[in-house]
């Protein structure tokens, strides 16, 4: 039996060597994807986002406020506009993400205590840029407001301590656990790239089985396995699994060791999760092909499933905020469980048992192929390729 598996594995290696698409989809493109996402977001937090100023007051007080704003790390003032309308148009042209509007009479109003009002506008369509610039603008407005209060209290002869206590009696002491920089590279690359790696596995698995039919090698393949579908699949998957594992572990080494993404969970969950991610994706691919033994259908289903899993993994928009039915459906996606295991056990460093149900679910995917082995055998021996 072992002999047969090794023979089939050898045959698979030759096939993979001959068809360049395997080289692309198993090695080159996954590496490309890793490099793409990690270099795209290498800044971590977006910095120097372009914003505009509409300063109709134009006094030394407002200019100081603007100068302080320009000194912030995540925003850069790129334009001064005569009116809010001009600034709005610049926003529509995509030149700025936000602007601060200081109407005429602001300084005078502060001096005479008539509570003048400034406004800031930000583009909420581009969410990351919008919320980052919003935070800075809000801070500068609060500081501006506090500055006035501070001057007034200094005038009354209050000490620095008293003033600070008066301005902010309750302080919020924020702890951003495990990602104190709010680094988007850590946040997105650690969930999207594994999803893409699994997408390649999703597709290449049914492709490699289906092309046996397409090129008319299926009978020869089954014969080598003595018509035992388990041996046939095992032999065929063995070299692929090894390459996928190599790529996946390479990715994990790259992000956790070289880029130093936070991983308080340590090595054991990282290795275990990498292994399960590869195997569950392969198992899902085999299952899809067994269910619909047609190359086109199984690949279509796998690609649709893989694309949906980016949404349903819940890394960007939380699953708990989705429709209850969708919440249930999310359990059918390996990437969802991958993400849960990752964030509980690797990113937040809790013990494996905290996410036990997701580990079990990932393992359940490994059983799926067993349900369709007979189907695959029949397909290989009896079906013809239909384009």
């Amino acid at each position: 039996m072992l002999r047969k598996i090794i023979n089939i594995a050898g045959r698979e290696c030759r096939q993979m060597y001959r068809n360049p698409i395997y080289l692309f989809c198993m090695l080159l493109l996954p590496v490309f994807v890793m490099v793409f996402f990690t270099t795209l977001m290498q800044e971590g937090q977006p910095q120097q986002l372009p914003i505009g100023i509409v300063d109709q007051d134009n006094t030394s007080t407002t200019r100081k406020l603007v100068k302080n704003l320009d000194a912030f790390q995540s925003t850069a003032i790129v334009g001064h506009y005569p009116s809010p309308n001009d600034a709005r148009m610049a926003m529509q042209r995509g030149e700025i993400y936000a602007f601060l509007y200081i109407p005429k009479g602001t300084t005078a109003g502060m001096m005479t205590s008539t509570q003048p009002r400034v406004s800031f506008y930000y583009n909420a369509v581009v969410m990351v840029a919008g919320s980052t610039t919003m935070k800075d603008l809000k801070t500068i407005c609060t500081l501006g407001s506090a500055g006035v209060g501070k001057t007034k209290l200094e005038m009354l002869g209050k000490t620095e301590d008293e003033i600070m206590t008066f301005l902010q009696p309750i302080k919020v002491d924020l702890h951003m656990l495990n990602n104190p920089w709010a680094n988007y590279n850590v946040y997105l690359s650690a969930s999207l790239v594994p999803g893409l790696l699994m997408l390649f596995i999703f597709l290449i698995t049914p492709y490699s089985i289906g092309t046996e039919l397409k090129f008319g090698h299926s009978k020869e393949w089954m014969e080598m396995a003595g018509n035992n579908p388990l041996i046939a699949i095992a032999g065929k998957m063995l070299p692929q699994t090894l390459v996928h594992m190599l790529v996946f572990y390479g990715f994990e080494f790259y992000i956790y060791h070289i880029l130093q993404f936070p991983h308080p969970g340590g090595v054991i969950p990282i290795l275990l999760l990498g292994w399960l991610a590869v195997l569950s994706a392969q198992a899902f691919g085999i299952f899809c092909f067994g269910l619909m033994p047609s190359l086109r259908m199984s690949m279509s289903v796998c690609s649709l499933w893989a694309m949906l899993s980016f949404s349903l993994a819940g890394a960007t928009f939380p699953v708990s905020a989705m429709d209850p039915f969708i919440q249930g459906v999310a359990w059918l996606f390996p990437l969802r469980h991958y993400y849960q295991c990752y964030q509980v056990c690797i990113f937040n460093g809790f013990g494996l048992h905290y996410a036990w149900i997701h580990w079990v679910c990932l393992m359940c995917f490994l059983i799926l192929p067993a349900l369709v082995l007979r189907n695959i055998r029949r397909a290989m021996l009896e079906y013809e390729y239909i384009p």
């Binding site: 407001s145 302080k171 819940g314």
Partner: protein, 402 residues
């Protein structure tokens, strides 16, 4: 004499074009794979995505509270957090360890910790602090918890300030001004609910057009190639300018199908789910015409590089995510490294998404998207030529085979 010659040539050209168009149309309908990507995916996917993101915002993010102070002030803080729209107090814990355990079980996304001197310090006239611990694995829940804590603390601060300054202030208005001498207003533009779906889905819809076109055209070309159907076309090649008729006829077929699908995707779907759509018809047509043509010729050009029909799926499907990021819809455009910006100029989707967001979500005009507009026409021209050249090579190759 000359006139009738010209007339004949025009007639012949139209005839050939229509013939190619009809053949391609028949093939699209007969080929299940093509049908899936041209019809089923564009029809079903947007509905599915919109359903997933239908709730748009995250409400009632669960928070655990560790209140060691047991004071009126801490209880007020907790009540206000519970009452705000974005968060709810799900658990009261006796210590941090208990709260941490709840976080590990994913029962809560954040913890608020009140030290035992929280109330005492406030009443003594000193500043005190509340510690907020956020799970950073989800940015939206982090934002909800953090923003709520900030809002609640500033509300309570004003209350405390009013008490403290009652000696200085004589009227209620005076108190308001003392606590906030400079008022400010926060205005989110173009997406006033700050909905997630409203921000991300218009881009996804445009991307679906490009990706399904690439997949569909690739599949159909792959089939032609496997069956060596190009030999059929070689006959046509003998006519003068036959190449343009082949490319034009096929493109016409795709263009017709996608005129319908695009209207559905970009006009009907956003209205069903209530996304911001404030584009005018003329502007939209002005953007989408070059976008569709660029996508079609890009797809036809790409399809020439593909050997087997299924390979197109392996190559195209994964690109959706990088394309989405290159358009600047998630990670801001101004912060994409120059190299990747350059790469993004190669693809119609980049400009299609940027242009559509400006027109439809931000209410811009065609004048605001000058660069995407021109870039799309350039892409149309370049990919058209590239398609013609590669078709020429292919047809010649297949003639030799026959």
């Amino acid at each position: 004499m000359n006139m009738s010659k010209l007339w004949n040539r025009i007639k012949e050209a139209v005839h050939d074009l229509a013939y190619i168009w009809a053949e391609e149309m028949k093939m699209c309908i007969r080929d299940e794979g093509v049908l899936i990507f041209f019809i089923v995916v564009p029809l079903a996917y947007p509905l599915l995505y919109s359903w997933i993101y239908n709730n748009e915002v995250v409400r009632d993010v669960p928070v655990a509270v560790v209140d060691l102070s047991h004071s009126a002030e801490s209880r007020e803080f907790i009540r206000r957090v519970d009452a705000s729209a974005d968060t709810k107090v799900a658990f009261y814990c006796n210590n941090i360890a208990e709260a941490k355990d709840l976080m590990g079980r994913q029962k809560v996304n954040g913890v608020m910790f009140f030290p035992d001197d929280f109330g005492v310090r406030l009443n003594r006239g000193e500043s005190s602090s509340v510690s907020v611990y956020c799970d950073m694995s989800l940015m939206l829940t982090y934002k909800a918890i953090y923003m709520t804590a900030m809002t609640v603390s500033s509300e309570m601060n004003s209350g405390i300030q009013i008490q403290g300054s009652s000696i200085m202030a004589t009227t209620e208005r005076d108190e308001q001004i003392t606590t906030k001498p400079l008022d400010f207003e926060e205005v989110p533009m173009f997406n006033s609910t700050q909905g997630y779906g409203n921000s991300i889905l218009p881009g996804v819809l445009v991307l679906i057009i490009q990706q399904t076109l690439l997949l569909g055209i690739g599949l159909s070309a792959g089939t032609s190639r496997e069956e060596n159907r190009f030999s059929k076309l070689s006959e046509m090649r003998t006519h003068q300018n036959g190449l343009f008729r082949i490319v034009g006829g096929k493109a016409l077929c795709y263009f017709m199908i996608y005129s319908v699908m695009t209207s559905y995707l970009l006009l009907i779907v956003p209205r069903i789910f209530g996304f911001t759509t404030i584009a005018t018809a003329a502007d939209l047509i002005g953007l989408l015409l070059p976008f569709l043509l660029a996508c079609i010729f890009f797809g036809m050009f790409l399809s020439c590089l593909i050997r087997y029909r299924e390979n197109v799926m392996l190559i195209v499907v994964f690109t959706s995510l990088p394309f989405l990021f290159l358009s600047g819809i998630s990670w801001p455009l101004s912060n994409i490294p120059p190299f990747w910006q350059g790469v993004s100029w190669l693809f119609p989707g980049t400009f299609g998404i940027r242009g559509f967001l400006t027109l439809s979500s931000m209410g811009g005009t065609l004048g605001d998207i000058e660069i995407p507009y021109i870039a799309l026409w350039i892409q149309t021209g370049v990919y058209f030529l590239a398609t013609c050249i590669s078709y020429n090579i292919q047809i010649k190759a297949s003639q030799e085979k026959v």
